[in-house]
Amino acid sequence: MEFTPLSFSAGGWGPDMVRALGVTILLSMSGMALGCLIGILGSACQLSGRWVPDRLSRGYVALMRGVPDLLVIYLFYFGSSQVLTALGQLMGADGFVGVPLFLIGAAALGVVSGAYLTEVFRGAVQAVPRGEVEAAVAYGMTAAARLRRVTLPLAVRHALPGLGNVWQLVLKESALISVIGLVELMRQAQIGAGSTRKAFSFFLAAGALYLLVAWASGRGFRIAERRALRGMARGGLGGEQAT
């Protein structure tokens, strides 16, 4: 089995595959960023204690939990062109208006990951030891200062493992964006496979690249976790007695 999918010689597919990998990474990062924004909003709604935002947020999470991501992607893809075409017609434009595929993909990934991230952020804030927040109250910190100096720093440390997991998820789900035609890694592999009739080689190469990025990100997150927890966790975060 030749490894032409990744050869960098003239006529080789290497450069295209690597470029597509770049698109995948960029796409995933964009989706993740949007997901974080949604997650912050969603968890804030649930932590607020107000009935309406809480229920809305929970409904959103439950929906994303129960529905395949592929359906969401189709909704965004077909829905966006519908909405824009309608808007376009309102403004006098003619014919079909399309949204850039990258944006659709990032939006879909963001909406899907936002649900998971809502749970991650909510859990992280709730895991902050209440005693430490109470001490901040006792020492006169205002609510804003408490949030900034105690709750959020501690919550971030709790959120890191969950963030890492969701990132791995987004990275893999980004492959689904290939169905709407965006040339990320998966689609590029399909193109190569169709052209050379060497489907196995190409998808194997794609798989290997996904694995590489997953492994590298995993290590990155573990390093970040270790640094965030420096001196802190010995089986837990928060005031514990060393023996």
């Binding site: 030891p129 001490a135 901040a136 109250v137 020492y139 006169g140 005031g239």
Partner: protein, 247 residues
């Protein structure tokens, strides 16, 4: 003798249960008051009303010239109350993401807005005083329980409080670590600090306090100087609590 702090007619209800039935507690400047009682007597709740970690349903707290009513106390007044008192918790509650030194400096720098350099020096002196200067750059999880509590005491001292509040400071410690914390507390008492201490440590209450208050089911059952309360308690319940035979 001027009163450093007065908790007047404090009433507190949790749901249907009235935990404090109008308790009055005062401490003069320099007085060490020990608060004893069985679990459920309301002693921790009373102490936590002093810095408004619990909000009383009736009554008021006076800290020197500051009056904090139960109802309609504004934000600013409460913040001032908390800035001028300091609490040491049973669970230490040191901020786990900051070093010991940073813990001690946190409130003076970020709440009281004192200059960082001055605070750092004072913080280091305090850590030295409680005997853990060598741990200044360590994180709480790396210290033993006794060390953490001493750090918490240093953190409390750093805010230069008018009144210090101790909520069962040694209850969560292994027996052999209790001594080092009590030693520090005795020092503080000796130098004239005003201290309200909820404790089970009878030795401390007897040897160090100026006055002992015994709480039973949300009311002051008896109070007085320690030698009186410990040797000739009047109330039968107190006698039972102290484990003394009928006299």
């Amino acid at each position: 003798m001027t009163d450093a702090i007065v908790l007047k007619d404090i009433r507190k209800v949790f749901g249907r249960l009235e935990v404090l039935h109008g308790v009055t507690l005062r401490a003069a400047k320099g007085e060490v008051v020990s608060i004893l009682g069985a679990s459920g007597s309301g002693k921790s709740t009373l102490l936590r009303c002093a810095n408004r970690l619990e909000t009383p349903d009736a009554g008021e707290v006076r800290l020197g010239d500051l009056v904090v009513p139960a109802v309609k106390a504004d934000r600013r007044t409460v913040d001032l109350l908390r800035q001028r008192t300091a609490m040491v918790f049973q669970a230490f509650n040191l901020w786990s993401h900051r070093t010991i030194l940073e813990n001690v400096m946190e409130a003076p720098v970020h709440v009281q807005r004192r200059p960082r350099g001055e605070v750092r020096e004072e913080a280091r002196a305090l850590l030295d005083r409680v005997g853990i200067l060598d741990k200044a750059d360590s994180y709480p999880a790396q210290l033993s329980g006794g060390q953490q509590q001493r750090a918490a005491i240093a953190r409390a001292l750093a805010t230069r409080p008018e009144v210090m509040l101790f909520d069962e400071p040694t209850s969560a410690l292994d027996p052999e670590l209790v001594g080092e914390v009590l030693r520090v507390m005795r020092d503080l008492a000796a130098e004239g600090r005003t201290m309200l201490v909820v404790t089970h440590e009878m030795g401390f209450a007897r040897d160090v306090s100026n006055r002992v208050v015994y709480l039973h089911q949300g009311q002051v059952e008896e109070q007085g100087p320690p030698d009186q309360l410990f040797t000739r308690p009047e109330s039968a319940r107190l006698r039972q609590f102290l484990g003394l035979a009928e006299q």
